[in-house]
């Protein structure tokens, strides 16, 4: 259930064969550019580039849409109220409140920026295997403990997802239908408690098994990343692409 959610099925072409560090660095720079851009034209360019990256990466439009829907509620809340809470030139009035053009512009900027970042993360990072990203993060110098925690978490999300589905099925088999009542909340509480208790037992078994195999406090990554020439080229291209909006912004300001 979760494996498919974590590794959305895409027809991967580009960007999934580069060194994961390329994708991670490019995503970071892209997010930075997004935060630094405030001109609408620059943000539109940013969104276009994000869409372009998705095209290059070969992500499916359906999963793109799903992702965007997921965070749009928060955005809508912020954005619908912004025109009314920022004072400026009147755009229209509704129930005695006036919406300002400045506010609408700022709201539009936020929408463009947020969507661009989410799309870029999809094109650059979500198409990669989570484990691969872990290798990338390790090569980028993150603390080994954190990397191990990340790797094991990714692994156990899958395992516990299956366990969870089993518990859920058992509840369904007993005619459990979630509704807004005390019975549901208590049952979910018990189910999560059960999941936690079983997880803890599992964790203890893992530690024991690891000790049996001579665990001495450090784990080894079984893959060495090799930085190749084409990675440098890909990174350079991606950085160039992501810096374009900033260039446009500077150009327009002067």
């Amino acid at each position: 259930m979760l494996a498919s959610q974590l590794q959305a099925q895409h027809q991967l072409r580009w960007l999934s064969h580069t060194d994961p560090r390329v994708n991670m660095l490019a995503a970071g720079v892209f997010a930075l550019v997004a935060v630094l851009s405030h001109q609408l034209s620059a943000l539109v360019l940013l969104l276009v580039i994000a869409l372009l990256l998705n095209g290059l990466a070969g992500t499916r439009w359906r999963s793109v849409g799903k992702r965007l829907l997921a965070f749009e509620t928060f955005m809508l809340l912020l954005v619908l109220l912004l025109p009314f809470s920022i004072s400026g030139q009147t755009w229209f009035s509704l129930w005695g409140m006036t919406a300002s053009i400045e506010g609408a512009k700022q709201a539009l900027a936020i929408i463009l920026r947020g969507n661009a970042v989410v799309l870029t993360l999809l094109a650059l990072l979500a198409i990669r295997e989570p484990i691969n990203l872990g290798y990338g993060a390790a090569a980028l110098g993150f603390s080994p403990k954190l990397i191990h925690l990340f790797m094991m978490t990714v692994r156990y999300i899958q395992v516990l997802g299956e366990e969870f589905a089993r518990l859920r099925n058992a509840m369904k088999a007993r005619a459990f239908a979630p509704a807004s009542n005390w019975h549901t909340w208590r049952s979910y509480g018990w189910m999560m408690g059960m999941l936690l208790v079983r997880s803890m037992e599992r964790a203890q078994r893992i530690v024991d098994a690891m000790r049996c195999r001579g665990f001495d406090g450090s784990l080894y990554l079984n893959q060495q990343l090799q930085w190749r020439r084409k990675d440098s080229i890909a990174l350079a291209l991606l950085l160039l692409l992501s810096l374009l909006p900033l260039g446009l912004q500077l150009f327009l300001e002067h």
Partner: protein, 220 residues
């Protein structure tokens, strides 16, 4: 609603969140023992999975945060567990983003640490004394601290970023009310369940050194 999207909060808030998150993460990772990593990972995964469940609340449904419970069970280890879970959610589900990760992590982790600091010791003694009522109440309190803390922090990050977000922050605060209620009930049940089935999970703070010695002795 606990994940602030990228590009919403202002640069000072982003930087402050990042600095606090990195500092807390460094401290927590330093404290984290290698032999505890599987426990932390399994619990982080467990919370990740549990937070995907849509729990009905009134006419709509909510996704639990479970950060109060995480604090109770993991203590400081909750910080890296939350960061890892948030990073995965940002990358694979599009909640939040790379730069706002620090702010989101602080918003989730500080209430978890608060719950750990306030509730954990009291809960341990309640579990030892087998005071059922007390255990449920403390579990509910941890859930409430988690959600109320995160809700407050999210609203604060918005309001501090720009005064224009004030009205949106108020509405977001209201959306936290049903979540707080459901989370309180569910957390209370989870804690009550664990206290019955595996009380040692809640007693960790006191028995940890002993258990550690024992297992080491067994291995050696």
């Amino acid at each position: 609603m606990a994940h602030i999207p990228e590009g919403v909060v202002s640069a000072p808030v982003l930087i402050a969140g990042g600095v606090v998150a990195v500092a807390a993460l460094c401290y927590a990772v330093k404290k984290l023992d290698y032999s505890k990593i599987p426990h932390a990972a399994v619990l982080a995964a467990c919370f990740f999975v549990a937070s995907l469940v849509a729990v009905p609340a009134g006419p709509s449904s909510v996704h639990l945060l479970l950060n109060g419970l995480m604090g109770l069970l993991l203590g400081w280890t909750a910080v890296p567990a939350i960061v890892v879970a948030l990073a995965l959610q940002a990358v694979f589900f599009g909640f939040g983003g790379p730069l706002v990760l620090g702010v989101n992590a602080v918003n989730m982790a500080l209430p978890a640490l608060l719950a750990a600091g306030l509730i954990r010791p009291v809960l341990a003694s309640a579990v030892q004394a087998q005071q059922r009522r007390q255990i449920y109440l403390l579990g509910g309190a941890a859930g409430l601290i988690g959600v109320a803390g995160t809700g407050t922090m999210v609203c604060l990050s918005l309001v501090v970023s720009s005064a224009a977000y004030t009205s949106a922050a108020k509405i977001i605060a209201i959306t936290y009310l049903p979540l707080a209620m459901v989370e309180m009930l569910v957390t209370a049940t989870v804690v009550g369940f664990i206290a019955k089935v595996a009380p040692e999970m809640l007693l960790q703070a006191q028995t940890e050194p002993l258990a550690e010695e024992q297992t080491n002795a067994e291995v050696l």
